[in-house]
Amino acid sequence: MKDRSIHILNFVGLGFFEPAIRLVAGEEIKKNMVALFKKILLPILSVGLFLILWHSGARYLYNIEKNARIEKALVDQGEAASLEMRTCIESGDISCQPNTLPSPAQVWVAYKSLLADHRIISEKKSVFAEKVAATNEKRESQGLTAIKYTGRPSFVDQILTSLKTVFAGFLLALFIAVPIGIMLGLSNTLRSSVNWLIQIFKPVSPVVWLLLVFMIVKTLTKNSDSDSSFIISFISVGLCSMWATLVNTSMGVSSVEKDYINVAKVLQLSVGQKVFKIILPSSFPLIFTGLRITLSVAWMVLIAIELLAQSPGLGSFVWEEFQNGANDSNSKIIVAMFVIGIIGFLLDRIMLTIQKFVTFTEETT
């Protein structure tokens, strides 16, 4: 049981919980205490230190902003107005709070309010669904499309939309980059003939990819009235992020160890068998490294692309909050930042776990 859970944790890249489990099992108390301290307590301490730094920094910025407001009131409207401003700020009234980097506490409050908001919206949704259930059935029998809830999406909905987009983009990258990468890796001629194109397109920024995809998709979807923003954003995500996989796959395929190729020759494998039984398995580690980079790049550019393409998701959430300029907008942006970071981390762990399942080397990065 204990060994099994340790093995699983190590496998999914959460090996830092190992000493805690060993401690619970009462194994080598002293050694595991040290390990626990190193692997769990120190990281927690550093997070704490970060929160303290953040808090005092936010405090400092808050004071600058506050003093500037009071000063401004004094200069513009005189003594009385400045006093009023000071009491207003110190009373914690929302209407006159300085707008700056929020403190950790404010972010926590914003996080909870976002969750509450999600609960309210999903309740509204279910009420709506109940209300239109009968009508929708009728419409369906008449061959009409069902009425959908078109209210504001909640924060959780935005996360799910973003995940959907990134997943679609990732799959697109996978289906384009891996086969092409294999072909390029197998043929020197092909590789050198498209090398220039790859080298030129690889460093192009996500924004430009978005505009390019926009130009094409806009024309192609001219006659349909479907919402093309999802298509645009996932294609752009895929195109931006596929290069790492493409380059890694072609490199992995072209640099298969000579020994393995010799084995294939001595066993007289056919071309197909050589590719599927020798070349692909031996380049799996590199392909997966490429896919991991692709996924993290996809998640990173997704935010920027959603922000620009006005397609729903975390990116547009951040942008809307920034434009919104409400009192807790800044805090909500920080919440989104952490959510983005944590989801990115989890996605990477998932990929790492899959990689360990299908490849043969032990090394992990």
Partner: protein
């Protein structure tokens, strides 16, 4: 007509100025059922020689004949045991051997194939490790898998490219005996490439030294008429063994010296003397 025959075989590598002839004018005849060992220094072109016979490489000049026909590529008839095992790291022992069996016996039923794999893995006493990956095995075990893989295709010739040189002395001794035991069963033609004279004498019927490259050629052959099975410890007191061993080693040392003497460059120093002159005061200018 010999079973395997090399006629005036030469092989070069590199292009232009850097082109060096590794093997030059190799003539070799191996009879069916013979165990021949080729002994040579590292870097003398032994692996190239084996690659030429297995068909992984083609000679620049001359021809390699197998049963009277020129070798055009690798074939199941000639099994190769590589120096660095060359096991596929993503397949376990059974599948590594199984892949070879599947290729060599395409029409065989799956059940029979599995039986054959087990039988051959058992032959090198690795049945308990049949489901292990190569990385979980020791060097000696890996080489045994490699031996099994080559033998499981039931080749007519076994080509061994320094199969034991990466192993420690004890494992090496064990594996020598194991290979000999297997070879003794059906006395297939075998070619062993090695850098160990003792190993050659212990295992082979004939030892041929390979002169060090570039332009490596084969030296005079030494017939070994010691009775089989040969016992390593008993051999140490055998007069004929001692004579053979000393003879071969002396020859190798002699050609080794020749190589180093031909390589030696002599530099003619110019007959000049430094002139000593009082240094005048120099103004350093940066212009």
């Amino acid at each position: 007509m010999a079973y395997i025959e090399l006629r005036n075989v030469s092989k070069s590598f590199g292009v232009g100025k850097n082109r060096t002839q590794v093997l030059s004018n190799i003539n070799l005849e191996i009879e069916e059922g013979e165990f021949v060992a080729i002994v040579g220094f590292t870097g003398s072109g032994k692996t190239t020689l084996i690659n030429l016979i297995s068909g992984l490489m083609m000679p620049d000049e001359g021809e390699v004949l197998f049963k009277g026909k020129p070798v055009t590529g690798p074939s199941h008839e000639r099994g190769v045991i590589f120096q660095n095992y060359s096991l596929l790291p993503w397949l376990n022992v059974g599948n590594n051997v199984g892949m070879a069996v599947k290729e060599a016996f395409k029409k065989m039923l799956r059940r029979d194939r599995n039986k054959r794999v087990k039988e051959y893995v058992d032959m090198v006493n690795l049945l308990p490790a049949i489901n292990k990956l190569p990385k979980e095995l020791s060097g000696g075990m890996r080489q045994r898998v490699s031996v099994t893989r080559a033998l499981s295709m039931s080749p007519e010739v076994i080509l061994m490219d320094e199969p034991l040189s990466a192993l420690d002395a004890l494992t090496r001794g064990n594996l020598q005996q194991e290979i000999l035991k297997i070879w003794n069963k059906d006395k297939k033609t075998a070619l062993l490439i090695t850098n160990d004279v003792d190993e050659g004498i212990l295992m082979a019927d004939r030892i041929i030294p390979l002169k060090p490259g570039p332009k490596a050629t084969l030296g005079p052959e030494y017939k070994i008429n010691l009775e089989r099975p040969r016992d390593k410890t008993a051999l140490n007191h055998n007069e004929e063994y001692k004579k053979l061993r000393n003879g071969i080693i002396e020859y190798l040392i002699q050609i080794g010296e020749q190589r180093s003497s031909t390589k030696k460059n002599t530099y003619v120093l110019p007959n000049i003397k430094p002139r000593i002159k009082p240094m005048p005061f120099q103004r350093i200018s940066f212009k």
